[in-house]
């Protein structure tokens, strides 16, 4: 930022102008006035300076001719030349005066030596008496051999007039510039206000709930249109997200109502028609299980929302992913055995990782739960993980990434289901009859995204392969 701009900012901050449009108007005026003043002073000094230089050059030329004559023909020749020059002076502005050592005036058109003459200065501007009137003149005095004094000058009263005229013009111009600046500033302010107000009106309407409103676009393709388009795009996205939220809340309503309705039906049925105490107890226990499902869904939803908000990142720490994998395979191997499944493992002894340990446990548990649930007996589930070294083109080129794959030979999914599997409450047709809430993979997705990774589902022909790619040390403050 340049000096004056910073100065302006300081002033504006000190004065504390609340209206942005007024501030813009003022900035415009100040800039306009200062540039006009700069321009005019340049013109003024240029004109006046040029005129003065021309006078000095003409005096110097005169002096050269006269002094040459003096050296060649002496004092008489000089007198003649002066008289000659005076006779030929068409502009009637040349001034000469030649005096003898005793003070007697020998030639020239001045009545006497100027009173205010200062012998110490070379160039002087002072009033001289000619033809009975005082005129302003630019003069120079030479002392010749034998103490003769020669004065050469130019009447500059005309130049003074020009100067005065110019100054007058300048003053008027300044006044006009001032008026223009104020007017221009006002126009700028009005324009600015109109733009702001158009955006403001739309956003206000949206705040009050009218999501269909958009900021008008002029179609000129200017910066204002850019801003309007960006805001409109943002509004479109918000609308889409709100629709998504609405859809999710509908799903929540549906998926929560179902177990509540079941519990209610069981209780009511038991209350009306249970024949014995054991039957009553059984019905109540079944209802309680359904209510536990409701709690489970609530907790999973809250957890997903919390993870998606990103606040859990404060609990990140460095841990060994391999240990987590060993523990989880050990936990699930027994379950796999029970289902007559084989759980194969393939991962190194150490896999340092930066993240939330508990979340990774849960993510892996969810994936393995699914794999076991959807595998026919005698199937094979493989859990593998390895470090992918950094490549120059990779995004996380410093530390590389970790790829965890869980592949089963189960019922798998079709392409349409693959794309939607990590949505909240999504359940593939073929999975409808199995227990579950449709939130497991949504939670995994949220956890993987929190760690800056990507969750991919693909065909394992047959079966499903779940791949998690996470940067090995993601967002770690020390970068290890």
């Amino acid at each position: 930022m340049t000096g004056p701009a910073r100065f302006m900012q300081t002033i504006l901050r000190k004065v504390r102008i609340q209206s942005v449009s007024l501030r813009f108007g003022l900035v415009y005026s100040v800039l306009f006035i200062s540039s006009a003043i700069l321009f005019l002073s340049f013109v003024w000094w240029g004109t006046i300076g040029l005129l003065e230089q021309r006078v000095r050059r003409s005096i110097a030329l005169d002096a050269h001719a006269l002094l040459t004559e003096w050296q060649r023909d002496g004092i008489l020749g000089l007198e003649n030349l002066i008289n000659n020059r005076l006779a030929q002076d068409i502009d009637d502005n040349a001034l000469y005066l030649l005096s003898a050592p005793d003070g007697k005036l020998l030639a020239g058109n001045l009545a006497r030596w100027p009173v205010q003459l200062d012998p110490s200065l070379i160039w002087q501007t002072l009033p001289v008496l000619r033809d009975g009137q005082l005129d302003l003149a630019q003069i120079r005095v030479w002392t010749l051999q034998g103490n003769y004094l020669l004065l050469i000058g130019r009447d500059i009263s005309e130049r003074t007039q020009i100067q005065r005229m110019l100054t007058d013009t300048m003053l008027w111009t300044c006044l006009m510039i001032g008026l223009l600046a104020i007017g221009g500033g006002w126009v700028v302010r009005v324009l600015f206000r109109r733009i702001i107000h158009s955006i403001n009106r739309t956003t206000l309407a949206i705040t009050q709930g009218d999501m269909s409103r958009r900021i008008p676009v002029s179609g000129m393709g200017d910066e204002l249109d850019d801003v309007a388009l960006t805001i409109n795009q943002m509004l479109d996205r918000i609308t889409r997200l709100m629709d998504g939220v609405k859809q999710v809340s509908n799903s929540i309503a549906h998926d929560l109502r179902t177990p509540i309705a079941r519990a209610r039906a069981e209780l009511e049925d038991a209350s009306r028609s249970a024949k014995s105490e054991p039957a009553l107890r059984a019905a109540i226990d079944k209802a309680a299980v359904n209510l536990d499902n409701v709690t489970g869904i609530c907790e999973a939803l809250l957890r997903i929302a919390q993870i998606e908000s990103g606040t859990r990142r404060s609990a990140f720490a460095i841990f060994d992913l391999a240990t987590i994998l060993r523990d989880i395979t050990e936990l699930y191997e027994a379950v796999a055995d029970e289902h007559d499944l084989k759980l194969l493992r393939d991962f190194p002894f150490h896999l340092p990782f930066w993240g939330d340990q508990a979340m990774f446990q849960q993510a892996l548990a969810n994936i393995l739960d699914n794999a076991i649930k959807f595998s026919p007996s005698q199937g094979v589930i493989s859990l593998s993980a390895h470090h992918i070294p950094p490549t120059s083109s990779a995004e996380h080129s410093q530390t590389g990434s970790i790829r965890i794959t869980v592949a089963d030979k189960g019922i798998g999914m079709n392409d349409a289901d693959l794309a939607r599997a990590s949505e909240r409450f999504f359940r593939a047709e073929r999975a409808r009859h199995t227990p579950g809430s449709g939130l497991g993979l949504a939670l995994v997705q949220a956890i993987v995204e929190l760690h800056g990774g990507i969750l991919r589902l693909s065909h394992n022909n047959p079966g499903l392969a779940v791949t998690i790619d996470v940067p090995a040390i993601y967002d770690c403050p020390d970068k290890l």
Partner: protein, 225 residues
């Protein structure tokens, strides 16, 4: 045992108080924080059940902090609808000994209460050997014997058995086992605990005449002679 129950919701309070009384415990009840704090300071209890959000201007965590500041080390089980991981951590940091989030099953609450009181009593003497009936384990050499016969257990199976033996005669829930043995703080959909218990049974119960590991319906498991 003497239990102080500080809980503002009457239904939950009656439910817990009734259940605990039926199990033979002495229950004092407080419906707000002020009364609860006064009772906790006056009397000596074996365990305090404390709701976190209470009316009357004295919040659950505040009671807990006040008690701990005054050197009162009565085990406190926090009972709260704030089920978030961070909330649990905050509760335990404030001096709570265990955390049960609402809604909860009575058996879970009871099992945890009993474990808490037992832990408090046992903390005095460090054990090197545990035994139930003819089953004994050596915590140092990690050896397991039943009726003089050596039994080979995997490290995790050993920890599972150790946990059960430390809670002999008490119900331990699946959640307690997940937390205590595996350090997992979530409930997997699959019945992983049941599978591991059944494997343990294969080794320590099946070859012998009578079983030590019992299933408690709607609650969990219990190791008992």
């Amino acid at each position: 045992m003497r239990v102080l129950l500080i809980e503002d919701d009457q239904t939950v309070r009656n439910f817990v108080a009734k259940g605990l009384s039926e199990a033979g415990h002495l229950v004092e009840q407080a419906a707000d924080g002020k009364q609860g704090l006064a009772l906790a300071c006056q009397d000596k209890f074996d365990v305090i059940i404390l709701d976190r959000m209470l009316p009357g201007g004295v919040e659950g965590l505040h009671i807990l902090e006040t008690l701990r500041r005054e050197g009162n080390l009565t085990p406190v089980l926090l009972l709260s609808a704030l089920a978030d991981v961070d909330e649990k951590v905050a509760g335990l940091k404030a001096g709570g000994d265990d955390y049960v989030s609402k809604p909860f099953s009575f058996s879970e609450l009871q099992a945890r209460l009993e474990a808490l009181v037992r832990r408090n009593r046992n903390e005095a003497q460090p054990l090197t050997k545990l035994s139930v009936g003819d089953l004994e384990i050596d915590l140092l050499s990690r050896a397991v014997r039943r009726g003089g016969q050596k039994i080979d257990l995997q490290p995790r199976e050993f920890r599972l058995l150790e946990f059960l033996m430390r809670h002999t005669g008490q119900v331990v829930t699946r959640t307690m086992l997940l937390e205590g043995v595996w350090d997992y703080h979530f409930d997997p959909q699959t019945n992983v605990i049941d599978v591991h218990i059944s494997r343990l049974r294969q080794k320590i119960d099946k070859p012998f005449e009578h079983a030590l590991v019992h299933t408690v319906r709607n609650a969990g498991y219990m190791l008992q002679e």
